[in-house]
């Protein structure tokens, strides 16, 4: 017979519910800043993750127990992760389109040439492979909506004087399709984050009141 106890609920909160809600809040914050933290080298996000990845693997048995009692939690996670995958695909498509684009390449070469006179940029772009290397990073910055960089970033002499032009490049017709898909994926993921948080916090609140367990335990620092 299925029987829950306050001890079980406490552990659910500490190991699964609270880390996942915190994870959603982190993701909301990054999305608010439109910084997706997407990385091309591993085709994934630094800070946006499948929801279960915000919890420690050693507690995943608790997660499996939760979804037996609350299928809505599983549905929420699946929806979140599916939207995240769509967002990732749209980032990759935009990245790939920019990497392959001859007009972007030409535009970038011009920027490199214009800035080549400066000692900082000249020493960076010593070979064609350097251009390709920095191109990848510049595209990531465009996708992640990065503003001006401080001087500890080696690419700042190229990025900072041209930041608006780099970002505006996506307005060209050539990228219509990918940009539209990208914008829609962000909107859709944003909506999913809000819905996911509501469902998880609703289930958590209901359990808290039913079993008399606080959502979080007071810790004396």
């Amino acid at each position: 017979m299925k029987q829950l106890s306050p001890k079980i609920i406490r552990n659910w909160f500490d190991t699964i519910f609270n880390p996942m809600v915190e994870g959603l809040e982190i993701e909301m914050q990054y999305l608010k800043e439109k910084n997706l933290t997407w990385r091309s080298f591993n085709n994934t996000f630094d800070m946006l993750k499948p929801l279960v990845n915000f919890t420690h693997p050693k507690y995943h048995a608790n997660f499996e127990q939760i979804v037996v009692f609350h299928k809505s939690v599983l549905d929420t996670i699946l929806l979140h992760d599916n939207e995240l995958k769509k967002l990732n695909d749209s980032c990759y498509n935009l990245f790939y389109k920019l990497m392959q684009s001859k007009s972007f390449d030409k535009f970038l070469s011009k920027k490199f040439e214009n800035n080549h006179k400066s000692k900082e940029v000249g020493s960076l772009i010593a070979a064609e492979s350097d251009k390709e290397h920095f191109k990848r990073y510049i595209i990531e910055y465009i996708i992640n909506n990065i503003d001006k960089l401080d001087s500890s970033y080696v690419i700042s002499p190229i990025w900072n004087p041209n930041v608006n032009e780099f970002k505006n490049f996506l307005k060209s017709d050539e990228f219509n399709l990918e940009k539209k898909q990208f914008d829609n994926s962000i909107k859709s993921f944003d909506k999913t984050l809000n819905e996911s948080k509501k469902i998880l916090t609703d289930v958590r609140n209901k359990l808290s009141l039913e079993f008399g367990e606080p959502l979080v335990i007071l810790v004396n620092d």
Partner: protein
Amino acid sequence: MKFPKPIKSAIFDSGPLLLALSLNYINKNYIQNDDEFLKLAYGKPAKIPTLKLTLEKFFNKFNKIYTTPHVIGELKGLVKSRLKLKDNEYKFWIQSIDYLKRKNLSEKLLTLVELSDDSNYKNLIPSIGFVDTELIKLAFELKPRLTIISIDGRTLKREANKKTIDVFILEDDIYSFIN
């Protein structure tokens, strides 16, 4: 989420290097309690389930390993403090050297003086340490530029990214790599 470009060579920090050598030791000597041994090598509760299988798949993909003599020095200390092999330490090193040769180990030395003379790196030394700074500079100087492999070096990653160097965090990125 697929890994777009397979990494076959990379710069290894001491943590992943210790894991690779420990795996080799387990396989060569038929260590029974392999999970426990790997946990010792890992040095903290591993966030990677099915640790041995996952790491095996990961390390098998590399055919060239880069590192620095200072990392090898760190490794010596880690073997002693974490694995506590006592009489078997000699065997561990003999087998490890053989493994590293098979993986075409390349050691590149950057000195403290060289690093501190470079205005792009000298300020990093006090904040992230000499060895991590050395890894970033090495990754930047090699052509094509290489990825650094670390277990959990998030500070290293943040600083390396500023120099346009990618850092593969084992805990976070391993599934996108092997799937």
